[in-house]
Symmetry: C2
Subunit: 338 residues, 2 copies
Amino acid sequence: MEKSVVQVGKQSLSFPMAPWILESASVVGKKEGEGPLGELFDMVGEEEMFGCDSWEDAEATLQKEAFTLAVGKSNIEKWQIRYIFAGDLLGQEMASSFGLADQQIPLFGVYGACSTAGESLGLAALTVASSAADYVCAITSSHFASAEKQFRFPLAYGNQRPPSSTWTVTGSGAFLVGKDKGIAKITGITTGKIVDYGVTDSMNMGACMAPAAADTIYQNFMDFECDEQEYDKIITGDLGDVGYEILLELMKDKGFDISEKLMDCGRMIFDKESQGTNAGGSGCGCSASVLSAYILKQIKEKKWKKILFVPTGALLSPVSHNEGLSVPGIAHGVVIEG
Amino acid sequence: MEKSVVQVGKQSLSFPMAPWILESASVVGKKEGEGPLGELFDMVGEEEMFGCDSWEDAEATLQKEAFTLAVGKSNIEKWQIRYIFAGDLLGQEMASSFGLADQQIPLFGVYGACSTAGESLGLAALTVASSAADYVCAITSSHFASAEKQFRFPLAYGNQRPPSSTWTVTGSGAFLVGKDKGIAKITGITTGKIVDYGVTDSMNMGACMAPAAADTIYQNFMDFECDEQEYDKIITGDLGDVGYEILLELMKDKGFDISEKLMDCGRMIFDKESQGTNAGGSGCGCSASVLSAYILKQIKEKKWKKILFVPTGALLSPVSHNEGLSVPGIAHGVVIEG
């Protein structure tokens, strides 16, 4: 019997009998719906509260809707889903706890800041590849207003945002992973370590996360003995314009020119000129909703055959920021093939 | 080839070639060192700051020390550890991010409130059982002062604590899991769902978590077609006195009398009469440090052969509490055998 989970190099796994992303769904806010990818999302909210009384409840609703839509699009029933891997940016993962409680499915809460989409997909793939489950769901979310309240200033204060700042995406992406043939296969993962270059500017998260992205992409190349030519695209989570440029430089320093292959979900979801989003979008709803709505579509339409999806996370908290600590980064790579 | 991961019933897995807990370590604060289990912990801090400038940094140091001690006791080198599964109670898992960054080991952040010790051990066991890693580490922590600051009142305010309240344990437990023979085997897990009975009293976390513990223990019995006779002990995480009594009642309602088997880490770590800890200890450092220092010792000394370890978590955040929401519970079961 062939092994279904194989250790590759130092930080990677490959899945010879690869689990599939069977279906996925994306739910976003009004602003994201008005952006360049607007028409591709499954559901766009008419207003940012999504009919709720609090920002946190609105974010929980994003997860609930994304989960329900993904299951609805698939051929499987809710009771067949053995585990959910879920996470968000709020303290104690409030959006996941309150958004998914009703589903009554065993839950693994995961946290990797905006890299959580990669972490949850990676563990979902491992769970299915190892036969621990036939079907699992990976889901993440973020909400502009709940994130500003959690990490920065009250919205009514109207703080200025420097050009390096990113705009937290109001959105959620849900992915059903299983052994049946679906949209795309997860053939490997490269799990990231914490990388801390000592950047303390929470208004420049791209700079905080780029070193982690470089570390994970480089390690993926080393582990799988490949380079950027292996992939049609290398797509980071939410580095934005500043982090994007830094990542290109860091990879050049390591001997790889990935400029022809690199895309960033944070640079794709908004039109920064007309939407005033500065360096781009961020949040663990950013990479998740773009993966579901745009990236998987390209794979489904056979425009891309193999990509490296690398959600990036800035491990800051309001407390660590107030204590003047640096913002360590982490990035989790997922190899996705058509 | 025998399967190494087997789905059992609705929510459980069994591991026929069970991964072992090779070594473990516990680090606790002064108060815990003065409690009934004081002599068993590997390291007891002389003061609550552990030489640091902030409570959060002190908690990060707990994780760092527990990790270092566990590796030091074992026959393996740090570089052999392929993944860490880590979590804590602080917003954005600050203690784990800052405590483990230096180790430069790929990290899966996990969150299940005080049930995180069960979640991290479960995923660690799955990872080793599925051959995704030869060695992994599961680690969790909590700190009385960082938790009070995160969830309740400034310490200097000296708020009154009702009899139902629990005292967050200052402590961390680290567990090295691998395929070599060690202290105890993890032969199965039962992953919990969120259970919400609508309790809103954050000063009565036992009542919030007991329904989740009952749900997971009952599901473990159903999945493995057994009852309380299967186990020498059933050991919950941190229900404390109030939750302990509620759990016994809830299990009786389901047709099981577990009163002869039930122990609770929160009731074991402090002497409530002399230490003023009201209903008992709590925090994801509670069950982790008690598992390492006390429970595994009983198994090593062959006093117990098979136990069901059930860390329990209350999924509240300062924001959800302030918004008047309920405190949902979750509990993750781990079957540990000598």
